[in-house]
Symmetry: C2
Subunit: 112 residues, 2 copies
Amino acid sequence: MFDALWAALADPHRRAIVALLLERPRSVGEIAQACGLSQPGTSKHLKVLREAGLVRVRQDAQRRVHALDPAPMAALDAWLAPYRKLWTESLDALGRRLDERTDTHGTRAPKD
Amino acid sequence: MFDALWAALADPHRRAIVALLLERPRSVGEIAQACGLSQPGTSKHLKVLREAGLVRVRQDAQRRVHALDPAPMAALDAWLAPYRKLWTESLDALGRRLDERTDTHGTRAPKD
DNA sequence: ACCCAATATGCCTCTGTAGTTATATGCCTG
DNA sequence: CAGGCATATAACTACAGAGGCATATTGGGT
């Protein structure tokens, strides 16, 4: 299921759909128009998102209103966690180095 | 480049490589063996990761030691940010509901 | 019951890509 | 400078996925 999540979000159109649903739930037609996709194409993308658990459907007459379910993204966040530590360290280190450069005068770089 | 990042991480083998490089930099051969991949396959995956900016190479004699560069993942994190807010809200709401259920014992939580 | 609107599904094509084998390149060592 | 490693690249095969079209399906209104 984790693989399905990554695969679902790997497609730019599907990320666009997800971003669209971040604002509010929408019908298939709305999504298709907003993303410049055909209706069948949109349906297929939504199916992938549904199977990844990222989207839920509510039936309203003939409309199928799709709403975002952000829960699976917590898994992405968890996956990202170990790396987050690293890149914040890098940024911190960079910041410190820049601070030192302005504070004292640089380790290697001549002041001028 | 953002697309390349998603595409790179969409592949399970490449995520495995990235996770492997989280521990320490490794040569192509090491990676291939650890992931059960062929040498050419590994090279190709590493190329994708390199072009996504996730990996950097240091040449050591014949070895090419690849190291993780977690910086691009910050972009993933930024992308995830708006959704993170949502799912924490959901979890909070769930927590509150459970609390109310134990606190009072009403099914419908008639607290207010 | 019929018809219309909204959506899903099947089929086809095409591109992209993962995997494999074989070969080329680069770099050290004797 | 010849030989052996480690890695990259090329050529090929196979298959998954995205897009487009036509059509089936579902629900509602009259």
